[in-house]
């Protein structure tokens, strides 16, 4: 897979650690190979760092097709098996509308409107089930 990067020129996605949470920010148009590499990187980082949560910020992502949707769903499933929760944050409204029409509703993934809201969700697991009233950011 690493060879794919040099071939396509696609840069890997940085995976940052904040305390016991991994923060991943997706930007722009992801190559398939980059998305698959990311999946592997996250799983390894969870096991290595013993994190309990993963936040994937997709506010910079213009489309989620069935391939990227599958990658996100599998990251969530992998994380769950490694005792970590995944929250997908910041999905654009046009992306949400398109995904529903496509039939891609990602039932196994939790979502939040922003990275801040996702961190809050993961920081207070007992308050997470009923969604706390949120402040509109603007």
């Amino acid at each position: 897979m690493n060879d794919d990067f040099s071939r396509t020129g696609a840069a890997p996605v940085p995976v940052l650690r904040l305390g016991d949470i991994l923060l991943v920010t997706l930007q722009g148009d992801l190559h398939d190979g980059t998305a698959e590499q990311l999946q592997q990187d996250i799983v390894e980082a969870i096991a290595r760092s013993r994190v309990t949560g993963v936040v994937i910020d997709i506010s910079g992502v213009e489309i989620v097709d069935s391939f990227l949707g599958r990658v996100l769903a599998e990251i969530g499933a992998n994380a769950r098996l490694l005792a970590a929760q995944t929250v997908v944050a910041g999905m654009r409204p046009a992306v949400a509308i398109t995904m529903v029409e496509l039939g891609l509703t990602l039932p196994g993934l939790r979502t939040a409107l922003s990275t801040e809201a996702a961190l809050e969700l993961l920081g207070r697991p007992d308050a997470a089930a009923p969604r706390a009233p949120r402040q509109e950011p603007r």
């Binding site: 396509t8 213009e62 489309i63 097709d65 496509l102």
Partner: protein, 147 residues
């Protein structure tokens, strides 16, 4: 509609996942230039991504042709994906949700069909598959609650 006189016609190869990125970017730019709204752009680009990936994964590669079209009242973008792969024996089955012969989610064809205004598929087993989709700028929306 201004700024579209130069046309947006192009023919792009689909032979690698890097090509999928170019196809998505080209379709988005062409749709934006024609005046597609953000949601319609997103739907068309997503459909293009599904169809281009089908061309790559199941068709063994091929190409997409993008053409600006007009029906006299409004303009649209027509995308034709062509491959010379194994073809599809059962089109009905291939278009149904949940069907997949690969490792996708089975949303490819049926999902792409829902994201565009017009959808046509022609496939000959052993000879290849051609999928043509068209979306129009500012078509009156389907009958639903419109505030």
């Amino acid at each position: 509609m201004s700024g579209t006189a130069a046309g947006v016609e192009a023919r792009l190869p689909i032979g690698s996942d890097l090509d999928l990125v170019w196809v998505r970017q080209h379709v988005r730019q062409a749709a934006a230039a024609l005046g597609f709204g953000l949601v319609e752009q997103t739907k068309l680009v997503t459909a293009a991504s599904e169809l281009a990936r089908n061309t790559l994964v199941y068709g063994g590669g091929g190409e997409v042709e993008t053409v600006r079209v007009s029906d006299g009242r409004t303009q649209g973008l027509r995308l034709t994906f062509t491959d010379h792969g194994p073809g599809i024996a059962d089109l009905e089955q291939a278009l149904s949700d949940g069907y997949t012969s690969g490792d996708g989610l089975g949303m490819g064809l049926g999902g792409a069909r829902r994201l565009v205004h017009e959808f046509a598929i022609d496939s000959t087993p052993g000879a290849g598959t051609t999928v043509t989709v068209t979306s129009w700028v500012a078509r009156p929306p389907r009958q639903r609650e419109e505030s």
